[in-house]
């Protein structure tokens, strides 16, 4: 092994890093966008109006709808349009179909008049966000394991990275401009250290998110193997299912609005300032029916609130303000990861921390090739295959993924609204774009023209992002100018951010031109002039 602890850690950092960087970059980019999943959802379903219904109007609508269609249901779920993740009234219940079997129903309603809201088929922000732990095209379990392995590598990369930098603070304040590999190293350090707590938190909590998938044997040791025992453990740990059983005696239930007011009174009594945002009614219209209210999250440590009322009388059944025991610690990790509690400024902080993660990984990738370019170019047998592949994948992924996201947005507007498989094709267009960029990167890298590929691909990514607001304005009535006129913050911000992304891509392209292309062109011109003179 390499001599010395720090040297061996540096070796481990370099090699674990480059092996997993492409997929980690993918996970970071899609995960970072996930902090604005609901906003992307809204933009990708432009037919949906902004919600105008009040809480009590929504509750009345839900009450009428569920009492009409949900009489046979075992359970009702009502999600109120109060928080950013639920922009519209959403109901879930069961209904008897023609064979008399209960079938799950999920409906998004206009809170004012109870009309069902429909929109074009789209994956929306959820599909983008889901890819960061579930990937795409791969079997679900396999994808979970794969992401888990890569996350462990990320954790190793972080910890070994910390060990490698003995003068972490001095190096943090060092930036050597225009020094090739040294500049990339300094940039890589800057991006890593500036949000190191975020990186450690997001990686470790990501593993914890799927811990019963990645390390199931701890649970198996006490509960035994097999699906049944696993479900048994989950029932115990997550306390799933109804808190009581139905009595079989029919009884009239209080209207949802009344129950909601009673819940608010209980919260006020307990000095709990959180609002109830969702209701689950177990065994509706039964003597034992219960209404379980879940509360909004205001901090990472207040998840798991449960306020339960008897739905027939409105009396208090139980009130638990937060999770108890280890579950509380567990939930803090998950909350920190998902950021459901985050207000808009904190959400932006999350977003930028995620971006520094993307840049950290991308700069690490570039650093790997920059350090090895001289030796690779000096190789008498031409560029080694491994170098060409790495450089091609680096170019295709670092630029290709943002471009693929722009194409994903464009596909949402350009694929015909009534095309049957449009949601799938939005996704296909994403991956086709990524593949094209990788192909272009590898092709140019093999011809020793990596700098040209970087320049041209950043330019194309910029054009694709610039197209998004233009195509949006041409295909919908919710273009940037209209959105600003109607105070439609989400739509205006979405278009605006795409323009910012476009400008950033162009700026990077210009930087590549200045630092990588011009010197080459200059040198070429110089040699040509010399040759002409001779």
């Amino acid at each position: 092994m390499k001599s010395g602890f720090r040297q061996s850690m540096a070796w481990l950092h370099t090699w674990t890093g480059i092996l997993v960087s492409w997929l980690l970059y993918f996970i970071f980019v899609t995960g970072t966008l996930g902090y604005f999943d609901s906003e992307i959802d809204a933009w990708m379903a432009p037919e949906l109006p902004q919600n105008t219904a009040s809480v009590s109007a929504s509750l009345n609508t839900a009450n009428t709808h569920l009492n009409t269609y949900g009489r046979d249901a075992k359970e009702w779920r009502i999600y109120l349009p109060l928080v950013r993740s639920e922009p519209h009234l959403w109901l879930r219940y069961q209904q008897k179909n023609a064979d008399g079997k209960l079938k799950n129903i999920s409906k998004t309603l206009n809170g004012e008049n109870g009309e069902e809201l429909t929109h074009r088929k789209t994956g929306g922000g959820q599909a983008l966000y889901r890819m960061h732990y579930r990937l795409h095209y791969l079997p679900k379990q396999f994808a979970y394991y794969l992401v888990g392995v890569f996350t462990v590598f990320m954790l190793l990369g972080l910890v070994t990275g910390i060990v490698v930098h003995k003068k972490i603070f001095k190096e943090f304040f060092t930036f050597r401009r225009n020094k090739g590999a040294s500049s990339w190293l300094d940039g890589h350090n800057l991006m890593s250290v500036v949000s190191l707590p975020f990186h450690l938190m997001i990686t470790y909590s990501g593993l914890i998110m799927f811990m019963f998938t990645y390390v199931p044997f701890v649970m198996n040791a006490s509960y035994g193997f097999g699906e049944e025992n696993k479900q048994h453990f989950f029932d115990d740990y997550y306390q799933r299912g109804a808190p009581n059983s139905p009595s079989g005696i029919a009884a009239n239930q209080l209207p949802l609005n009344t129950l909601y007011q009673k819940a608010e009174a209980v919260l006020e009594n307990h000095n709990d300032s959180r609002r109830a945002i969702a209701i689950r009614v177990f065994h509706p219209h039964d003597l034992n029916s219960l209404a379980v209210f879940s509360l909004e999250q205001q901090s990472p440590s207040d998840d798991g609130a449960k306020l339960i009322l008897h739905a027939t009388t409105g009396e208090l059944y139980s009130y638990i303000p937060v999770y108890q025991g280890t579950r509380h610690v567990h939930s803090i990790f998950l909350e920190l990861h998902e950021g459901m509690f985050a207000t808009l400024p904190v959400r932006w902080l999350y977003f930028f921390a995620g971006l520094t993660g993307c840049v950290m990984i991308a700069s690490g990738m570039v650093l790997w090739t920059t350090k090895r370019r001289k030796k690779a170019l000096a190789n008498p047998d031409g560029l080694p295959f491994s170098f060409k592949l790495t450089e091609g994948l680096n170019i295709g992924t670092v630029v290709g993924l943002p471009a693929a996201i722009a194409v994903y947005f464009l596909a949402n507007r350009l694929i015909a609204v009534d095309f049957a498989h449009r949601a799938e094709w939005e996704m296909h267009s994403f991956f086709i774009t990524w593949c094209c960029f990788i192909g272009y990167g590898c092709w140019y890298s093999a011809r020793k023209l990596a700098a040209v590929a970087w320049y041209r691909l950043w330019l194309s990514a910029g054009f694709l992002f610039a197209l998004v607001p233009i195509v949006n304005a041409l295909t919908t009535h919710r273009g940037l100018i209209n959105s600003i006129k109607h105070n439609d913050v989400v739509f205006a911000a979405f278009d605006f951010i795409n323009l910012v992304a476009a400008i950033s891509c162009f700026a990077i392209a210009l930087l590549v031109k200045k630092h990588r292309l011009s010197p080459i062109a200059h040198k070429l011109q110089h040699t040509r002039q010399k040759e002409a003179a001779v």
């Binding site: 092994m1 061996s8 462990v152 390390v215 044997f217 701890v218 040791a221 280890t326």
Partner: protein, 96 residues
């Protein structure tokens, strides 16, 4: 020639360490986490969740240990002893 041999030896060493880190590492992590879940003075579900959460830290520490130690053979032996001992304790706790 010496150079070639030493690089082959170095590669073999790396492969062996990767094997220790991944295969033995996961087994040891599991074995120690199970032991922890049986020993922690919490109720059962809480102990299981707590040890599962800690397992990733155990694994990370172990991998760093494997790649930083001087002698690969000694790493292998030490790891094997820890695995066998913790597994034996687990077996005792679960069956007895």
């Amino acid at each position: 020639m010496d150079h070639v041999f030493s690089s082959i030896r170095a590669n073999k060493d790396v492969i062996f360490r990767v094997f220790i880190a991944v295969a033995l590492g996961y087994s040891i992590t599991m074995s120690l986490s199970i032991l922890l879940s049986l020993l922690l003075p919490l109720n059962q579900v809480d102990a299981i969740a707590a040890s599962s959460m800690l397992s990733f830290a155990i694994f990370t520490g172990f991998v760093m240990f494997v790649f930083s130690a001087k002698s690969t053979k000694r790493v292998f032996l030490h790891s094997l002893i820890v695995l066998v001992l913790s597994a034996a304790f687990n077996f005792l706790f679960v069956t007895v």
